[in-house]
Amino acid sequence: MYINVLKPRVDPCIFLHSNVDDWLALLGYDFVRELVRRFRHVAAEVDDVARYILENPGIVSIGLRGVEVGGPYRREWRLFVESGYVEPRARARWPYTPNDESLDVRLQVSPCFLLATLTRDVGAVWRNRAASLFSWVSAVPRHKPLEVFREAFPLWLRELGWSHGYVWVAWTRWRDRRNRHLAEWLYWLDTGRMPHIDAIRGRAGAVYETAGRTKKPAAEGLYVSS
């Protein structure tokens, strides 16, 4: 009975990751074939499926209903497939740089959370943990979120990522917490890819390229292997 179990080597966040080669490498051909089969009524091949899902992230869990998933990430996948829920936690690991700056931006939700079905409870999590988002958008966009957020995010915040680097942003504070979720957002808005999946694929250089701009340049030698 375990013949048809799919074993992706990545968590559901892959659906917000716009690099299709990574889909094939991490989800595996069987999973991708199943995806194409399940979204055949709207898309003909993998590229179309990837684009369709990136434009409408809320629908993946509906399309995946009933899929058997195993492998190291099975717990997250089962939760996602059966109830359409993805944890809002940040996935990326950032090399430590001492940083006492604090940003007055409450965004403690990963972009992955866009995949979660927008029930009343999920809406409450958005409102509570990502309160700052709602001064830029009126509601969580369900269609083309990447474009919407690229327009909606304030420029000074994007520039913070460009000038200081994502690692620096990740270690700034919001009250007693770090802004690791915010760093994921900035990386995702700039590249359309998820930082932790880039890290899995060995693109650590792309993720941490800005580490040199941080206050502790020695961290670069420690964490970046290119």
């Binding site: 009524h41 509906i62 399309g63 209903r65 509601a139 269609h143």
Partner: protein, 184 residues
């Protein structure tokens, strides 16, 4: 047809608009009601369920009608279900879960359900600008009317469901500024 509730599946209506099982049970104690679920079952394990009572401990007898569709016909399957809900059962279109419509690729057919009103208005303005440039060239297009038609359809639907709404509408038309007072 099968007695009992559907085992699994995605529900067509938004959770908020579905009745609680306990609420429905109180009805069937008085009369002999049957709760009906209609299921479009897609090959490979996705069931789209139309029913007006949330799944749960239900005291009424429940009947499930299932029809199988191949995967490639997901679009028409969901469309049939929505048509049934809206036309036969007179469910307002806005109770339909937009994510299900989006999955089925039906957003072009029901734009106001899927899209944010702001997006619809922006697209309409773009259309209007388009149309103006067209008409300057002497070409007339009748494609900009879809929003007006859609709005008229929604108002009609609203009136069908609640006759009191006609009175509200009449007052708003008499004095549009009164509507603004509601938002202050």
């Amino acid at each position: 047809m099968r007695w009992g509730m559907p085992q699994r599946g995605v529900y067509l209506l938004k959770e908020v608009y579905m009745a609680e099982p306990s609420e429905a049970s109180s009805y069937c104690r008085r009369d002999s009601f049957v709760v009906v679920y209609i299921v479009a079952s897609l090959d490979g394990g996705l069931d789209v369920v139309y029913g007006r009572v949330k799944p749960g401990a239900l005291e009424c007898p429940a009947a499930t009608f299932t029809r199988r569709f191949p995967r490639a016909e997901a679009r028409s399957a969901v469309k049939t279900l929505v048509d049934f809900a809206v036309k036969v059962d007179k469910v307002p279109l806005f109770q339909v879960n937009p994510e299900v419509l989006r999955f089925a690729g039906l957003c072009d057919d029901y734009p106001l359900v899927c899209e944010d009103p702001a997006v619809v208005i922006k697209r309409l303005m773009a259309n209007a600008a388009d149309k103006r440039t067209h008409s300057q060239r002497g070409v007339s297009t009748a494609s900009g009317m879809w929003l007006v038609e859609e709005l008229a359809r929604i108002l009609r639907e609203k009136l069908e469901l609640d006759s009191g709404f006609a009175e509200v509408l009449k007052r708003v038309i008499e004095d549009p500024d009164r509507l603004r007072e509601c938002y202050v």
